[in-house]
């Protein structure tokens, strides 16, 4: 139940995120209502009211992300790793295994723990 929203710091807010709960100013007045979709202007305004973090609804994907999306995310995570840099082979190998795990369907067999 605590996982339906995430307290997200201002620096990590993006337009299009949806508020899980109302955001109040220091006097208890509603700045933004629950369910509001954040706009660029709304984020700036939160900053002016010195709001540190707001409860953002966790995105519930309508469908599982496609392979291209997953690959893009993995590329983002490994953005400091250069595939051509053989001196950094260990990071490169981890990257390849994560790709196999997430995209290429090389699922590990279930093991009893």
């Amino acid at each position: 139940m605590s996982d339906t929203y995430e307290m997200t710091p201002l620096a990590h807010l993006y337009p299009g995120m949806v508020l899980a709960d109302a955001v109040l100013d220091e006097h208890g007045h509603v700045l933004l209502a629950a369910g509001a979709t954040l706009s660029e202007a709304a984020i700036v305004s939160l900053g002016r009211h010195a709001v540190g973090a707001v409860p953002v609804a966790r995105a519930v994907p309508l469908s599982a992300p496609g392979d291209a999306e997953i690959q893009a995310r993995i590329d983002h995570l490994f953005r400091h790793n250069d595939r051509e840099d053989l001196g950094d082979w260990a990071t490169g190998l981890l990257r390849r295994y994560v790709e196999d795990y997430r995209i290429n369907g090389t699922r590990a067999p279930e093991v009893a723990s």
């Binding site: 605590s2 620096a11 400091h80 994560v98």
Partner: protein, 284 residues
């Protein structure tokens, strides 16, 4: 913010550590005595039971699916009989630590993501240790504690740390590099200072000190496990950070674990299975 550009002195860091809330006495005792195996279970149970919140959290962890108990434990003593002393020590430490630092003091610092990363690293380190026939309970605790110095910096120097976070965003560098650039020291040093202040065992202190430099001869195998576990957790994107970044993996550490791809994929899977449930219990 005006003092954000001045480096932190060692004295300021130590004063910051001094001001931290103290851990429950029983946890201090458990952290300091991690190599001792002859602590009395009855005494331990009594001490934990004197702190109802700690007891409840510890029991929820012990009864979580990661431990697969057939019968639910209702007392610390019972859980210790089922799981063993080492496992219980680890769970009590985890339950106490996650409630010890105030959240939300430093805007821009995502406390929840921090704990998700720490808990996932603990889970992954435990999975790795079991495979490599290393003590899984040490590995779990070391994984949980490896980044604890960051909380010292965030909770004692929130304005300066906000500047660190901005610099990280601006340069898209590792947080550690931004820490060094602005504070003159990093979370590893802060973690070692805390380990001394809270009287962690030498084993834990060493793992905290060397988890970013596992190739150094004095680092030890626990630092190697934690180094790789942390990288795996970054790579599996388990913390919930939009700007997650996988740090460079030490080739020495990777080689030392000597695992096949098949084994790695199983480790990924087992780690993912445990993270959500543990996080829900520890940072509710």
């Amino acid at each position: 913010m005006s003092d954000a550009i001045h480096p932190l002195t060692r004295e300021e860091l130590m004063a910051g550590v001094d001001d931290l809330p103290s851990l429950p006495a029983v946890v201090m005792e458990l952290l300091g005595s991690i190599e001792e195996e002859d602590l009395d279970i009855a005494v331990l149970s009594k001490k934990v039971a004197s702190d109802p919140a700690l007891m409840a959290k510890t029991l929820r962890l012990a009864n979580s699916s990661a431990y697969g108990l057939q019968v639910k434990a209702t007392t610390i003593q019972q859980a210790t009989t089922f799981l063993g002393f080492e496992a219980m020590r680890k769970l009590i430490i985890a339950a106490a630590l996650t409630g010890c630092f105030p959240a939300g003091r430093c805007p821009g610092f995502n406390d929840r993501a921090f704990w998700r990363h720490s808990i996932a690293t603990a889970a992954c380190a435990r999975v790795l240790a079991r495979r490599l026939r290393f003590n899984p309970d040490y590995a779990f605790t070391a994984g949980l504690l490896h980044g604890i110095g960051r909380l010292v910096l965030v909770s004692r120097f929130p304005e300066r740390y906000q500047a660190v976070l901005s610099l990280r965003d601006k340069r898209d560098c590792e947080l550690m590099d931004a820490e060094r650039a602005l504070l003159g020291l990093d979370h590893v040093e802060a973690g070692v200072a805390l380990a001394e202040y809270w009287n962690f065992s030498d084993t834990m202190r060493q793992a905290i000190a060397y988890h970013r430099t596992p190739e150094l001869p004095s680092a030890g195998f626990l630092a190697t496990i934690v180094h790789v576990a942390s990288a795996v957790v970054h790579a599996l994107d388990l913390a919930g950070n939009p700007d997650e970044l996988v740090p460079r993996v030490s080739a020495v550490a990777w080689t030392a674990l000597g695992m096949s791809e098949e084994a790695w994929l199983q480790v990924f899977h087992e780690t993912e299975l445990q993270v959500d449930e543990m996080t829900a219990i520890l940072v509710a």
